[in-house]
């Protein structure tokens, strides 16, 4: 926190910054501090390679948005400064370009998304205004800039995500420019379309969370039965359409459906898209299917309530140090909160999508849940619009609804074929959205011959797909593998289609997973987050259980978790960090190779050793349980599946 004073003489009385958190600072008046949140100053995309001469310099600027309208000169000054900073940093750090710049009042963030193409934003730091009594007895207003409330880790992740989303929707920036023979106008237009509705809504106060920084993928952990069912389903579709295409059009043996992705609501079930693009494609699919924010939305709403609470009882770190033994705190004062009566399920989906939310296993019906027509008539509707307006939602070129239980649409998506390659190819994504929340997506490279057919007759293709899926009955499957699972009997029920059956199983798995998480989070004094770097699987139980007791994730706690993540990033050999905040929360980060577990234990009287026990309980529960062994299973990396099973020390 830096303070600057509005009165010239106040600097003398401003708190001595060094070393003494408890140092007597000027007496704060009781007037509540006026707080402003951090806001976006400007966001821009530029490429210094364009417009080499003074006259054409403005061509470097590809996109610029700010709250206030500013002159082109001001814009150019800002990107001039940005380039100055980047170039200066490059002298000493030639290989790692400038990431961010801290100033007293602002934060500048940089991302060289593609060689020469920079995403750059400036954030005006949040402030608090306090009235203090100076040495001379006069009251002055001091503005403190809350530098520490804006975490670099999150900002870097935000820019990366923004670019990732752009790329999956439109391809690389350079590719766009190349496609237009060096003309940057189309790129500028695309950037504007993409960012305009979105960027100004970025909330730098609420997004300071570990979830954002890690930017993982929420997987649906599948049981073995569920996994096999999904796998079977995908295979049948690929065989059917892949073969069709290759036989009718070409001798090409390869399936025209080169990739697939299965999602359930906003959870990733399975995919074979390469790791680099998986996250962006997943997001885009979720976005297109209208489940975007199914869980995030709820999290935001929770946060909002929290904010309100927080304002009432502001929780201050660090003003006073308790002079007591760390190893046995407040034993006489056990926490009095009552445990919540129910586990904190992820709140039901509030997305205005046709998908039903899960209420019970048995109540699931998957047929004609929202059919508008029975006869397979086509109608073009736009997909369920995400309730949250904070995301870009590039619309597909064509959208087709098939009405028997699901709908399919075709959207262009860009992702790469080869690991570690910068190239991305345009694909058509055929999104089949089933009423249960299950989505099947298949991708066809745009330049393949099959794609042409798809483009020509999207309706027909979609109808074919829909028909195939709905008629894919049980007997297409080999006899049930094992009926050991609890759902064995259901699985063999002959009257349902495979699709329905798989959906049912998936829903079951989803509920199992949540119940498990819930049983852990049942201990309302513990919050945790699991992250697997390898497959980006993330599983979070961090939010507060609104209204049911337990701890609120204050922004300080969220930031403390980010601090630990930063430690891990900076110190590759660190494997555990446990910290105790002045408010006596324990904040734990543990790392086992690629897996990271973060925990907050708010049991104020617990000792370091007791916290250790909690961590051990959690990790052993999580990593030993069969159900979750496929945490983030995706067929492309069976090693990860195995990797999550061993028990931890």
């Amino acid at each position: 926190m830096y303070s600057s004073s509005s009165a010239a003489s106040a600097s003398a009385s401003s708190p001595n910054p060094a070393n003494a958190p408890a140092a007597a600072s000027p007496s704060s008046s009781n007037a509540g501090p006026a707080v402003t949140p951090p806001t976006l100053g400007y966001f821009c995309v530029y490429n210094p390679d364009f417009g080499p001469t003074d006259e054409t310099q403005h061509e470097q600027l590809l996109y610029y948005v700010a709250r206030k309208t500013v002159s082109i000169d001001a814009k150019m000054r800002n990107i001039g400064l940005a380039q100055g900073l980047v170039n200066f940093a490059r002298i000493f750090s030639p290989n790692a370009p400038c990431d961010n710049v801290h100033s007293q009042k602002n934060r500048l963030v940089f991302l060289e998304a593609e060689p020469g193409y920079w995403l750059h934003m400036s954030i005006e730091l949040g402030t608090t205004k306090r009235t203090v009594k100076g040495a001379d007895g006069k009251h002055r207003t001091i503005t403190e800039y809350l530098d520490h409330e804006v975490h670099d880790t999150v900002l870097a992740a935000l820019l990366k995500q923004a670019y990732g989303m752009f790329r999956v929707a439109h391809g690389t920036m350079d590719g766009i420019v190349q496609a237009h023979e060096g003309n940057t106008r189309p790129l500028q237009r695309l950037l504007e379309e993409f960012f305009e509705p979105w960027v100004l809504g970025w909330d730098f106060e609420r997004s300071m969370t570990l979830e954002v920084a890690l930017d993982g993928i929420s997987y649906l952990p599948l049981s073995r039965t569920g996994y096999l069912g999904v796998d079977r389903l995908v295979k049948s579709v690929r065989e059917k359409f892949g073969r069709d295409a290759s036989e009718s059009e070409d001798k090409d043996k390869a399936s025209m459906l080169t990739h697939y992705m299965v999602t359930f609501e906003d959870l990733l079930v399975s995919t074979d898209i390469r790791d680099e693009d998986m996250k962006a494609v997943w997001k885009q699919v979720v976005n297109l299917t209208g489940y975007e924010g199914a869980s995030a939305m709820a999290a935001w709403e929770r946060k909002e309530e929290e904010e309100a609470k927080k304002r009432k009882s502001t929780f201050k770190f660090g003003k006073s140090w308790s002079n007591s033994s760390i190893f046995g705190f407040y034993r006489s004062n056990p926490s009095t909160t009552t445990p919540p009566s129910t586990p904190p399920f992820r709140p039901i989906s509030r997305v205005s999508s046709p998908a039903p939310s899960i209420r019970s296993v048995d109540g699931v019906t998957t047929t004609n849940n929202h059919s508008t027509n029975n006869g397979g008539t086509l109608s073009t509707l736009s997909l369920g619009a995400p309730a949250s307006g904070s995301s870009p939602r590039p619309s597909g070129d064509s959208e087709v609804i098939l009405t028997t239980g699901g709908k399919a649409s075709v959207n262009p998506l860009w992702f790469g074929e080869f690991i570690a390659s910068e190239d991305v190819d345009e694909h058509f994504g055929i999104l089949y959205k089933h009423g249960s929340g299950l989505n099947l997506s298949f991708f066809v490279p745009v330049h393949s011959a099959e794609a042409q057919r798809l483009l020509d007759e999207p309706e027909q293709f979609s109808r074919e797909l829909e028909e195939f899926l709905s008629q894919l009955l049980e007997d297409h499957l080999p006899a049930p593998l094992e009926s050991t699972g609890p759902d064995g009997p259901n699985f063999v029920a002959p009257s349902r289609s495979v699709l329905e059956e798989v959906s049912r199983q998936v829903i079951k798995d989803a509920i199992t997973a949540r119940t498990l998480g819930g049983s852990l989070a049942n201990d309302k004094e513990i919050r945790f987050l699991y992250f697997n770097k390898m497959n980006l699987a993330i599983k979070a139980q961090l939010g507060s259980t609104t209204g049911k007791g337990g701890i609120n994730m204050s922004s300080d706690m969220a930031l403390s978790l980010l601090d630990i993540k930063q430690d891990f990033d900076r110190m590759p050999d660190a494997n555990e960090v446990t910290a105790r905040s002045p408010s006596n929360h324990w904040i734990v980060g543990k790392r086992f190779d690629d897996r990271e577990v973060y925990m907050i234990v708010s049991r104020k009287d617990s000792t370091l050793v007791e916290v250790e026990d909690e961590v051990r309980k959690l990790t052993s529960l999580y990593f030993n349980i069969n159900n979750l062994s496929s945490f983030g299973s995706h067929s492309a990396s069976p090693s990860t599946v195995a990797g999550t099973t061993p028990s931890l020390p």
Binding site: M1, Y2, P17, A18, N19, P21, A22, G84, L85, F88, A89, R90, I91, F92, S93, P94, N95, A96, P97, C98, D99, N100, V101, H102, S103, Q104, K105, L146, D147, H148, E149, F317, G318, W321, S322, N323, I326, F327, D556, L559, S560, D563, D567, R570, M571, D573, A574, N575, E576, V577, T578, A579, R580, S581, P582, N584, T607, L608, V609, E612
Partner: protein, 682 residues
């Protein structure tokens, strides 16, 4: 404090704006006159009466000059050494005054010797450090002149200064004039530098020697020498560098002479230069380079320009640039107008820690100049080249940079004490206390990194950061070991507006006595105090035990194994109430340099995490492949403990509690729990 020295009848204000003066002439004159003055300086006492004696830069150099003990190994052929040696040898070998000029310790011989030396120098090729010394001793024409009664020189000087800088005169205070003169003069050098140090050295040398002989003649000569004198930027740097033995030998072999900065020659365009783990840059707010830790600061002025431009861009928007992060690198900016300080580091240290380090560098500069003087200079000319004024003290900036990497005291802002029995410490303190004299402000006994005892007035404690500067002074130069030194020093936390004066003398191996007085004339008084103390300590046999403890202390004082705690590798314990810390010797596995560095970095990381401004922590447990560490901060203490990597948490907790008990038990020998004040002994 500053008022104590106000009585001077300063005749000459030489500090002129160079643009107005014929710069080289002026500077040469200044140096000439001052050298003349110094060489003829009759007695230390007289010199002492004149307040603006010691240009700060002359401090280290002068120590050199008379620190003849350090020179036996220096080639006898060095004329400078030769001329110096006689005087020191004649005198009792241990007493060398640091400011020969003003306090010329052996007045007559000294003067003669200097004169001789100068003569020889003019003919000598290897004159670099002689030159340095001489020029260093110059610079206070004012003191010299009245005493000397060398009207010609004085007149010359005054004439110049009065015409040149009327306004400067007015704001000038006695204390600063000498320095200003020096600064101006060296600015000329810097301004018109050419890298040929040879030419420079001869150029600047000649005048001096001439001056001692005949000022009038010298003036003539000067015209001839003028261009050369003006070219002596390198030599001017040398000149104010402290040279100790090793550096002396460098001088001869190397054009740069004087103190040879590490990597000083490194080309800033090479990867090796940019690859240094931590750079420090100091520049003026006008973008003039002042100091660079590596390389020649004058050659990287383009970078300085960029830094200055970046900073002012933010300033124009009423903002201030604080930190740039790029990969592993952190660029941290500290704006202390009229100075900008920048650290470029990939050591993993935090922004706050780097900024604190810049703060220490800034304090070091202040300790040479005083804040008041520096502000004044830049008010006069905002593109002033400060190198002239801090010249010779770069070695202390360098050593500070090193010390901050290896000594945890900076990060803890605490002082390490020599481990020794309380009884002995008290007795030593008693001897010190009884030797008090009127003008003694602080009496400090210390080893180069550890405090033995400190006596102070009841009302004035000494800030740790000031003490760090003192420690840095000792570790920055070995010349103090061989002489009695008397040097002005500004302790910024004590008073950043004026100088104190420090008497420095090693009374035994690794045991240094430091007496601080506000009175610049009190050298002999201080020397007397030291004598009394030494006698007192010797009589009771305490001196030898002090020496033993100091010897043990330089190794670390005690071992982690002394605590009897199994598995304990190392720890840092800081008493927040006493602002002191203690730590055991770095033993296996921390004997290799890289392991030491890693441990210290780890400590720094823990420290930073626990003291993060908005999110401090009470406790931090950190385990890595290399060690398991616990950090624990309460209002009374901070403890950082290192164990092996496989130690369990419960063991860590148990052992840490045990350790705390052990420390509590030993506290009175590990720390100074009640530092005595002088009043106690009255």
């Amino acid at each position: 404090m500053s008022s104590s020295g106000g009585s001077s009848s300063s005749p000459g204000h030489h500090a002129g704006s160079p643009s107005q003066l014929a710069a080289p002439v002026a500077s040469a004159l200044a140096s000439a006159s001052s050298s003349a003055a110094s060489s003829t300086f009759p007695s230390p006492i007289q010199s002492a009466t004149s307040p603006r004696l010691m240009p700060s830069k002359s401090r280290p150099t002068t120590a050199l000059v008379f620190g003849q003990q350090s020179q036996p190994h220096a080639p006898e052929s060095l004329p400078g050494d030769e001329f110096m040696l006689p005087s020191s040898r004649e005198q009792s070998s241990k007493t060398h005054l640091i400011h020969p000029v003003r306090h010329a310790p052996r007045p007559r011989q000294g003067v003669n010797a200097v004169g001789l030396g100068l003569d020889q120098d003019t003919t000598s090729e290897t004159s670099e450090d002689v030159d340095g010394r001489l020029t260093d001793t110059e610079g206070d024409p004012r003191e010299g002149t009245p005493v000397l009664g060398r009207p010609t020189v004085v007149d010359e000087n005054t004439a110049h200064s009065s015409t040149a800088l009327e306004s400067l005169k007015e704001i000038e205070e006695h204390d600063h004039e000498g320095r200003l003169n020096r600064g101006m003069e060296s600015r000329h050098h810097a301004g018109e530098q050419d890298q040929s140090s040879e030419a420079g050295s001869t150029g600047s040398l000649d005048p001096h020697s001439e001056a001692t002989l005949d000022p009038a003649l010298f003036r003539d000569k000067l015209k001839i020498l003028e261009p050369k004198a003006a070219t002596s930027r390198p030599s001017s740097r040398l000149r104010r560098t402290v040279s100790n033995k090793s550096y002396d030998s460098d001088d001869i072999s190397n054009n740069h002479g004087g103190y040879q900065k590490h990597y000083g020659d490194e080309d800033h365009t090479t990867g090796a230069w940019t690859a240094h783990r931590k750079h420090f840059f100091i520049l003026s707010s006008a973008g003039k380079p002042i100091y660079a830790r590596y390389g020649d600061e004058s050659r990287i002025s383009s970078y300085m320009g960029v830094i200055q431009a970046l900073i002012s861009f933010f300033a124009d928007n009423e903002d201030s640039l604080r930190c740039i992060n790029a990969g592993q690198h952190k660029f941290v900016f500290l704006i202390k107008s009229p100075l900008y300080l920048v650290a470029v580091s990939r050591t993993g240290e935090s922004e706050t820690q780097l900024r604190d380090q810049l703060g220490y560098l800034y304090s070091q500069i202040i300790s040479v100049l005083t804040h008041a003087q520096m502000t004044r200079i830049f008010e006069q000319r905002n593109n002033f080249d400060l190198r002239g004024l801090i010249g010779g003290t770069e070695i202390f900036l360098d050593s500070l940079g090193k010390l901050m990497n290896s000594y945890p005291g900076f990060m803890l802002s605490a002082i390490q004490c020599l481990t020794m029995p309380k009884e002995l410490r008290d007795k030593v303190g008693g001897v010190l206390g009884r030797a008090k004299c009127k003008s003694l402000l602080y009496a400090i006994l210390l080893t180069p990194t550890q405090l033995i005892t400190l006596l102070r007035p009841r009302t004035h404690s000494l800030h740790p950061s000031d003490l760090h500067l003192i420690f840095n002074l000792l570790s920055g130069s070995t010349t103090f070991e061989s002489s009695e030194s008397w040097t002005p020093i500004c302790l910024p936390k004590f008073n950043n507006k004026s100088f104190l004066h420090a008497y420095i003398c090693y009374i035994a191996k690794n045991v240094c006595m430091l007496l601080i007085s506000p009175d610049k004339d009190s050298f002999f008084e201080m020397s007397q105090v030291k004598q009394t103390v030494v006698e007192g300590l010797e009589a009771s046999g305490m001196l030898s035990s002090l020496e033993d403890y100091a010897a043990a202390g330089t190794r670390g004082g005690f071992n982690a194994s002394d605590t009897g705690i199994p598995g304990l590798r190392h720890f840092l314990y800081k008493s927040r109430t006493h602002v002191q810390f203690t730590m055991p010797e770095l033993t296996d596995p921390y004997t290799s340099l890289s392991a030491k560095k890693r441990l210290l970095r780890q400590y720094k990381h823990m420290n930073e995490r626990m003291h993060r401004k908005s999110r401090p922590l009470k406790l931090l447990f950190h385990s890595s492949e290399h060690e398991t560490m616990l950090g624990w901060v309460t209002s009374a203490f901070e403890l950082y403990v290192a164990f092996g990597p496989l130690v369990s948490k419960s063991a860590v907790v148990l052992m840490s509690n045990k350790l705390l008990k052990w420390i509590r038990k030993q506290e009175d020998s590990l720390l100074i729990l009640n530092s005595p004040s002088f009043e106690k002994f009255k």
